[in-house]
């Protein structure tokens, strides 16, 4: 992941609000959209998010939960 894209995603996650996968795809540059899952995977491996799949009234809900980092300012 490029430093520029990482900076965008850190800013996007900084509010601590749970996001949807669709929102992740929406903020990615066009050329990165086809590899959106690998970007989510890298965010997870960096310990920045926890992806969640759950079912609500028979519908799939795909959320990206920011991981709160301890020791921050």
């Amino acid at each position: 992941m490029s430093p520029d894209l990482l900076a965008i995603l850190i800013d996007w996650l900084s509010s601590g609000v749970t996001r949807t996968y669709a929102e992740l795809v929406e903020i990615l540059p066009e050329r990165e959209k086809p590899r959106a899952f690998l970007i989510q995977q890298e965010l997870k491996q960096r310990g920045m998010v926890q992806p969640v799949i759950r079912f609500e009234n028979g519908n799939v809900v795909h959320e990206i939960v920011p991981v709160v980092q301890n020791g921050g300012e």
């Binding site: 996968y21 669709a22 795809v25 990615l28 959209k33 086809p34 590899r35 959106a36 899952f37 690998l38 989510q40 995977q41 997870k44 491996q45 926890q50 992806p51 969640v52 799949i53 759950r54 079912f55 028979g58 799939v60 795909h62």
Partner: protein, 165 residues
């Protein structure tokens, strides 16, 4: 209609070919009882075949009648598969092939499945991060029970029709 569980036996012949047979049993027993039944029945069938009883598996059938988008599309083809490879944290690869993949999910000028599609992404995420169930989060694993953690590839491929497990 009540669902039954199955014990599936795989047989190996002298040519190296394999075949399976299944025996249905009611769902009212404890897991240990199915193991006991499966082992006993393996002994019984072993006595009436010339091939090798290679394996016995318990198949738990699940009621999927509630699926809402489970219709047959005219261009569906089980030889067109979604070919997925995942790995565990130790790097052990696990391959999964999903027959009759929706070709519209393939990214342009590529064999890769489009990860911006919500259905593709939800499947990949379920395979590597799990699915929330009543008792916690159920994450698919390798044969040793180690969680799958990463995607290696997700692409369209072609396979001869037949059983895939």
């Amino acid at each position: 209609m009540a669902l039954a569980f199955q014990i599936v036996y795989t047989y190996l012949d002298a040519d190296g070919d394999t075949a399976t047979s299944a025996i249905d049993i009611p769902t009212t027993f404890a897991l240990a009882d199915y193991v006991e039944f499966g082992r006993g029945m393996a002994s019984l069938v072993d006595d009436i075949v010339h091939g090798v009883v290679q394996s016995a598996e318990l198949t738990v059938n699940v009621d999927i009648s509630g699926l809402t988008n489970n219709g047959l599309v005219a261009d569906s083809d089980v030889e067109e598969v979604g070919a997925f490879q995942f790995t565990t944290a130790d790097g052990r690869p696990v391959n999964v092939n999903i027959p009759a993949i929706d070709e519209s999910l393939v990214a342009a000028s590529s064999d890769d499945l489009d990860q911006s599609d919500p259905a593709v992404a939800a499947f990949l995420t379920a395979m590597t991060s799990g699915v929330a169930v009543t008792g916690g989060t159920a994450i698919p694993s390798d044969v040793d029970g180690d969680d799958l953690t990463s995607l290696v590839y997700a692409r369209e491929a072609f396979r001869a029709s037949g059983t895939r497990r």
